[in-house]
């Protein structure tokens, strides 16, 4: 009987990965086609095989569409993986990287860059990246000062740092020029892939790779951190250093994404839930599947963002539209599920 259930479950996992993988490939192709300057599948085929196409089409494909698609995949996968890791190590189905202040920190960094330096994309991205890292560094210092080992200290410290960051953002907004700067600050919090270029993708790629690869390599430690602290330590997990490394890797991952895209809501929260419901497990496979689902959600959101309306819509509106029904469904189904 056990053999049978094992086989059935393996089939379920394979099916889940195949379905999500196929949908992801289709969405990625679609994402390369859709936009103000549509490109057909035939044209993409010709570009890739070195056939005849208009110069303009070629340039749009290589410079804008492909990098935009790649960035959507990197962002979604990054947020999906980080979300899964956070939900496991904070033992909380509502945890996301925001919980230790990454978003607020990145937001503050971006706002400070806009007000104090300039609205240039590179400056804002650098500000957001540093802001995210700095916020998490502050959280870790606070936790260290309390000499506490429990995860809830991280959550509390995250709330404190987020509150301080938000107050400073308000102050910046108050002094910001209401025509240009204030709009830029607000717009940044809604997320967008509209201004993605190949050079931006290549700049953040090393950080993304370190974060993503590092978390995957540490997958077994992530699983052990799902136990309570005492049990985890008695199984030989060096709690302080391991947890710190995992939080730093995920911060690197999320900051690298957010610095280019601005804040993207819900993706990091719902992707792990979808993955978990699909394969009914909470393990390394769930982490990987959550990354794939995150990429899929973001690709779909981005395709809708540039095709629903004449002007581009902010990403977070669409990720929320996709995310809320999923969360509602999860809320209704939850009785007795993973608590």
């Amino acid at each position: 009987m056990a053999k049978q259930s094992n086989l059935a479950h393996r089939k379920l996992v394979t099916a889940a990965f195949l379905v999500v993988g196929a949908a992801l490939a289709a969405a990625a192709l679609g994402s390369c086609c859709v936009g103000k300057y549509p490109i057909s599948l035939q044209e993409i085929g010709r570009i890739l095989t070195g056939g005849e196409v208009e110069e303009m089409t070629r340039r749009v494909f290589w410079n804008l569409r492909l990098s935009r698609t790649a960035m959507a995949v990197l962002s979604g996968a990054g947020l999906g993986l980080a979300g899964a890791v956070y939900q496991i190590i904070f033992k909380n189905p509502l945890a996301s990287p925001d919980i230790i202040g990454i978003s607020s920190g990145a937001n503050l960094g971006a706002a400070a860059a806009i007000v104090a330096v300039s609205g240039a994309m590179a400056t804002v991205a650098a500000g957001a990246f540093l802001g995210g890292l700095l916020a998490v560094a502050m959280v870790m210092l606070l936790v260290r000062a309390t000499r506490s080992l429990s995860t809830s200290t991280y959550v509390l410290a995250g709330i404190i740092i987020s509150a301080v960051a938000n107050a400073m953002i308000m102050l910046l907004k108050y002094y910001a020029d209401s025509d240009s700067e204030l709009a830029a600050i607000e717009y940044w919090t809604m997320g967008s892939l509209a201004s993605v270029t190949a050079s931006k993708v290549l700049t953040i790629l090393p950080f993304w790779l370190v974060g993503f690869g590092g978390l995957l390599l540490l997958h077994r430690q992530v699983g052990l951190l799902s136990l309570n602290e005492e049990e985890c330590r008695m199984l030989g997990v060096r709690l302080r250093p391991i947890r710190r490394v995992i939080l730093l890797l995920s911060t690197l991952l999320v900051s690298s994404v957010v610095s280019v895209t601005g804040l993207i809501s819900f993706t990091g929260l719902i992707a792990p839930h979808i993955a978990r419901v699909m394969i009914r497990r909470q393990n390394t496979q769930t982490m990987v599947l959550s990354a794939l689902v995150g990429a899929l959600v973001l690709l779909i959101a981005d395709i809708l963002a540039r095709s629903l309306y004449a002007a581009e819509l902010p990403l977070s509106i669409l990720t929320t539209v996709i995310g809320v029904p999923v969360l509602l469904w999860f809320m209704c189904k939850r009785k007795g599920e993973i608590a």
Partner: protein, 258 residues
């Protein structure tokens, strides 16, 4: 002969509050010892200090003659294992995955357990009578089965010293007997050393080799059950439990209220 586990003049507590005062004890190979005492007497604190979960304020705790007070978690996990009162809630993991967690201290940080370790884990589950359950979701098991899975995880961790903090507290009468029986069998056949805290002295009388009576953070007396007579056991137990009687029956001793 050096004892497997030896604790000398151990003092520990929380912050400035001292809970365990100058405790010395030792556990031999193949010996299953019980720490008995009332709520708040410091038995859990003593156990956690030996585990290194609480920083030690003074004294030594050595396994096979090697002081491990200042070991970090990974080094310590090779010397001693721990079964908590009630395991962490584990969701979405198979029984086999839970057992495989026991190998953590023996693997590199990035390494996953290979085929032979998996087979060994399956064999250990089989030994607990749970071979059929390996691929089930851990959360679907009964409390007794869960505690047996945690025991299997402890076994694959393969540390010579086994520490247990009321591992039976969530179990019913049948499961409690089954789990304690398994623990005792393992300690005796595999020559490990066990130290367990228990609330019910009758289970200690039925399964353990030696009783350590604890009160106000110190160990009052020790009773080796193989050689002790009814009177000795009764006077030792009454120091903690007050007005009690110890009765002898063909299988051993039981404690009742006087």
């Amino acid at each position: 002969m050096t004892p497997l586990l030896s604790v000398e003049h151990l003092t520990s507590g929380y912050g400035r509050r001292t809970v365990v005062r100058d405790v010395s004890l030792s556990v031999q190979r193949g010996e299953f010892c019980a720490l008995l005492g009332l709520n708040g007497c410091g038995k859990s604190t003593l156990l956690k200090s030996i585990c290194g979960l609480i920083p030690v304020q003074g004294g030594i705790c050595a396994v096979e003659g090697e002081d491990c007070t200042h070991f970090h978690e990974r080094q310590r996990a090779l010397k001693m294992s721990y079964i908590p009162q009630r395991g962490s809630p584990i969701a979405g993991k198979t029984v086999l995955d839970v057992v495989l967690m026991g190998y953590n201290a023996r693997l590199h940080l990035f390494e996953s357990p290979g085929r032979s370790l998996k087979q060994q884990a399956l064999d250990t589950l089989g030994q607990m009578g749970l071979g059929e359950k390996a691929d089930l979701d851990y959360a679907e098991l009964s409390e007794g089965q869960k505690q047996l899975v945690i025991l299997a995880r402890t076994l694959v961790q393969d540390a010579p010293v086994m520490l247990m903090d009321e591992p039976d507290s969530a179990l019913d009468f049948v499961n409690r007997n089954m789990v304690l029986h398994q623990i005792r069998t393992i300690i005796h056949t595999q020559n490990r050393g066990g130290l367990i805290t228990l609330h019910d002295p009758n289970f200690a009388l039925a399964y353990c080799d030696r009783l350590l009576m604890m009160k106000n953070g110190s160990i009052l007396t020790q009773v080796p059950l193989q050689t002790a007579g009814r009177d000795e056991i009764e006077s030792a137990l009454s120091q903690i439990y007050g007005e009690i009687r110890v009765l002898q029956h063909p299988g051993g001793f039981v404690m009742v209220r006087a």
